[in-house]
């Protein structure tokens, strides 16, 4: 299992002193310090990485957040922010010498402005809860990660999360207006503004995607969009992955920008069908979900074009969602795909790579071959529209050696992605999981720049140390493990 680095750089503190100081600034149910209580916080959605924090603080308001940060800053104790703990790259993995700062009690929707079409919310608010609250006003919040039922808006900011509808409506960063952030020394910053462009550096954009390394987000003003008059999904079945892959390229090539374009292979489709009963075709090698939204006339015209492209690309079956309930059911299957795989195997390792769309069929074929070679099943789900691939390597962590075996399989997949001209980070962030690969993707100069940005906000490196941006030292070590950079970018690194 990978350990966050830089831990050794931070000296251990007197945990009794720390806890009594935290106790002084938090209500008693907001501080967990018994091993029994802190252990359930030891991991996020990537449960292969686990560390037990010294304490868990669950502040109820911004003042308490600032107070906790001040204590930790003074005592030089690392702090790891945590939203809903759905992250898939170990971003919220605790620091064994630090405090986990959970924002889950701060989940009030503070204000919805129907005229300005904005919502001001606390960081622990669930992504979906924003759209639910805005629904009576005919509005919604567009970015919809598959985990939207549970993940927090604060976590979305920290990961710059994307989702099914980001193809047309952008990522988190494109859908927020203003942030309130508490820095490690307890200072409160307001970033961004109600207008579309604010003077000076765009610190809000910098904060977005910073994985809890620069500050703790305590309030977010998001943009809301009017719900489209109509949205419908075309579900198309294909008898080969290749044809489905080509259909994706053809749709985009035809100049269509679907509101969402997603693909699942046979294994993934079968796993989710048991849960959602959406009526997916189970004998298809791959299915595509392709959404059109707008006025009824626009939707009708676009759907006609989408169906024509699908048919020309060899779809064996095409269905159109007949009502809103069916449309949501089609999507809910896709959104539940990762955890539904738990029905097939106790553990999965979710990969997150991006490849050029035209290479899809080729990469998928390569993955299928690797799956045979390694003897591990690997369903695939794919944000097809933006080339973001999620192979789910299935394994059984109770079988000795199998996690490592899965990890090797994973590195081979990433290698495939790189060879196809893609990248190894899609949307799940770097966290601890992909920290080594950052050394491949960025030059030492670029990494130095990241570190100086970090230092400007957090001189002592206390916020989420060891995540997202590797130290050069770590890269050097990582480099030694590589035979030679470029020649073999992905040796079979054990990564669990």
């Amino acid at each position: 299992m990978g350990k966050p680095e830089a831990i050794s750089a931070i000296p251990a503190v007197d945990s009794h002193a720390l806890i009594s100081r935290l106790r002084a600034v938090l209500p008693s149910p907001s501080l967990l310090a018994l091993p029994e209580e802190t252990k359930p916080y030891e991991c996020d959605g990537l449960s292969a990485f686990r560390e037990v924090p010294l304490a868990v603080a669950l502040p109820e308001d911004e003042a308490q957040v600032a107070a906790v940060l001040k204590v930790c800053h003074e005592m030089r104790v690392p702090v790891v922010a945590r939203g809903a703990g759905t992250g898939l790259s170990g971003g919220a993995l605790p620091n064994p010498l630090g405090v986990t700062l959970g924002l889950s009690k701060m989940k009030r929707i503070l204000h919805i402005d129907p005229l300005a079409r904005t919502a001001r919310v606390q960081p622990g608010v669930r992504n979906l809860a924003i759209s639910e609250a805005a629904a009576p006003l005919g509005l919604y919040y567009a970015p919809d990660p598959s985990s939207q039922i549970a993940c927090s808006i604060g976590g979305n900011i920290a990961e710059n999360s994307g989702g099914v509808h980001c193809l047309k409506y952008g990522l988190t960063v494109h859908n927020i207006l203003k942030l309130r952030v508490v820095t490690i020394d307890g200072e409160i910053l307001e970033l961004g503004g109600e207008g579309l462009d604010a003077a000076g550096y765009d610190l809000m954009a910098l904060m977005t995607g910073s994985e809890g390394l620069l500050g703790v987000v305590t309030e977010i003003t998001v943009k809301l969009l009017p719900k489209p008059q109509l949205a419908r999904v075309v579900l198309a079945a294909f008898d080969s992955l290749e044809k489905a892959g080509n259909a994706v390229a053809n749709i985009i090539g035809a100049g269509i920008i679907p509101a969402g374009l997603e693909m699942m292979d046979k294994l993934a489709t079968r796993a989710v069908e048991q849960f959602v009963h959406a009526g997916y075709p189970l004998d298809a090698e791959a299915i595509l979900l392709c959404e059109s939204d707008g006025t009824p006339e626009e939707v009708a015209a676009e759907i006609e074009r989408m169906e024509a492209v699908m048919r020309a690309s060899g779809a064996t079956q095409i269905r159109l969602s007949k009502d809103e309930a069916e449309r949501l059911r089609f999507w809910s299957g896709r959104k539940a795909a990762f955890p539904a795989v738990g029905r097939l195997m106790p553990d999965y390792y979710c990969m997150d790579g991006t490849i050029p769309k035209r290479k899809l069929a080729e990469v998928l074929k390569g993955i299928a071959q690797l799956s045979e070679e390694f003897g591990l099943g690997c369903p695939n789900v794919f944000h097809a529209g933006d080339g973001n691939l999620h192979p789910l390597i299935m394994f059984d962590a109770n079988v000795p050696g199998q996690a490592e075996h899965a990890a090797k399989f994973g590195s081979r997949i990433l290698k495939l992605c790189i060879e196809a001209g893609g990248t190894i980070t899609g949307e799940h962030g770097v966290g601890v999981e992909k920290i080594g690969e950052m050394c491949d993707q960025f030059t030492p100069d670029a990494l130095e720049t990241f570190h100086s940005v970090k230092a400007a906000f957090d001189t002592h490196g206390l916020l989420n140390p060891g995540k997202a941006v590797p130290t050069l030292h770590r890269c050097a070590e990582y480099g030694q493990m590589h035979v030679a950079r470029g020649k073999e970018a992905f040796p079979d690194l054990p990564r669990f």
Binding site: P29, D44, G85, G102, K105, S147, A150, A336, A337, R343
Partner: protein
């Protein structure tokens, strides 16, 4: 999830069951989103994923303390998490196992033990509950507020039709329902009679066992189950088609008799047969809906439609995964159902929860009443006696079993 159960439990039937359930959890956190207590408290330990973790720790050999016990006590056993979990984690079964191990390790302070045992015994027994209720009505002023509000005015049950039909079904009389609301089963009998089915009682049967079982007197609970099985089997042998549940809380338990008695060599096959023959009233009437809907539509033709809110009990929508059936029949009976936000959340009744965790229960009740009344209905229809009496304490409009609302329209 990786799990390595400790020797003390690893090779027991409970251990094996728990391990299979734990391994299915992939730690995605989806379930936290629909857990009523996580939504109120915002602590991983008060949500399903955290509770699964707490149970895992104990089964892996870390000793439990009062803290783990508290977080498990706060769980409503509403099983909303099961509905949400894409991976199919059977949380309800896991928490039964976890609670037993934790209670055995941690124990309860003497007074609390006495209180819980008394509550379990009285609520499980019609012969004790009825006099207690009568006393409650007579001496209401002496009772604590929380309990006093739960005692409804005495209710009259109208006629129960004579069993003249060829088709027969057995009804569970239950423990508290006949005393609190005798009209529910009588209304069921009348509605069924109109479509040619006679509803008969099984006087030897009693509480379904849920109260004792979920308060961790699992052996007492199993005794109730065996007694009911003995009471019902002769009726099934005599030609009764189905055992009808008019309280969804009981139904979800009876449907799991086969599971609860799987390790009782004598009773396992009988329990399985009973579970298979058991239906919630929503299922029974939905299966006859051709006949029933036609009658209802005729009965309400030309009459103004009325507004009701439907509260789907957790034991119906999550425990038994039944949705939409009662709602469709109510609609056919001339009721427009008002929207109920967060309809998947528990009302806070949850068996004995309202008595054991009054603070959380009251918060959930307040939220539920607000959601139910938001659409301006004349009353509320529900499917479980526990929810019915609990919700009634929080609102003026009448809360009744849905079959009573239907019976009234025929």
């Amino acid at each position: 999830m990786e799990t390595h159960l400790a020797d003390f439990i690893k090779d027991t039937p409970e251990g094996q069951e728990a391990e299979a359930i734990l391994r299915r959890c992939v730690h995605c956190g989806f379930c936290t989103a629909t857990c009523p207590t996580y939504q109120l408290l915002g602590d991983e330990l008060d949500g399903p994923r955290g509770r699964i973790y707490l149970i895992k720790q104990v089964l892996e050999g870390s000793p439990a303390t009062e803290s783990t016990q508290l977080h498990l006590d706060r769980c409503l056993t509403c099983r909303s998490c099961e509905t949400t979990c894409p991976s199919g984690v059977e949380y309800g079964k896991l928490v039964d196992i976890g609670r037993k191990v934790v209670d055995d390790q941690v124990g309860r302070p003497a007074m609390e033990g006495v209180k819980r045992k008394a509550m379990s015994t009285v609520l499980s027994s019609p012969s004790l509950f009825s006099p207690a209720l009568a006393a409650g009505r007579a001496f209401g002023g002496l009772l604590p507020e929380a309990l006093r509000k739960k005692i409804p005015a005495a209710q009259r049950a109208d006629a129960w039709p004579a069993p003249t039909n060829a088709r027969r079904m057995v009804v569970l009389e239950g423990c508290v329902q006949p005393s609190l609301s005798p009209n529910i089963n009588a209304a069921t009998a009348r509605v069924l009679d109109r479509i040619g089915i006679s509803l008969v009682k099984a006087p030897q049967a009693g509480c379904c066992g849920a109260v004792a079982f979920h308060m961790n007197y699992q052996d007492d609970g199993r005794d109730h189950m065996r007694r009911n099985i003995d009471a019902w089997l002769p009726l099934l042998d005599g030609g009764a088609e189905t055992i009808v549940m008019t309280a969804s809380g009981c139904g979800s338990t009876v449907k799991e008799y086969g599971h609860h008695l799987a390790h009782d060599a004598t009773y396992a096959p009988r329990a399985e047969r009973i579970s298979k023959a058991t239906r919630d009233l929503t299922e029974v009437l939905a299966a006859e809906s051709d006949k029933l809907v036609a009658m209802l539509e005729k009965a309400v033709a030309g009459k103004p439609r009325r507004k009701l809110a439907f509260h789907s009990p957790c034991s119906l929508q999550h425990g038994q995964q039944i949705r939409g059936k009662a709602e469709a029949l109510l609609t056919a009976a001339g009721y427009d159902l008002t929207p109920v936000p967060d309809g998947h959340l528990c009302c806070g009744s949850a068996g004995t929860y309202s008595l054991l965790q009054p603070e959380l229960s009251q918060q959930l009740l307040a939220n539920k009443v607000q959601a139910l009344t938001s659409g301006g209905p004349e009353g509320v229809a529900t499917a479980n006696i526990g929810c019915l009496t609990h919700i009634q304490t929080g609102m003026k409009q009448p809360v009744r079993h849905w079959v009573e609302w239907i019976d009234e329209r025929m």
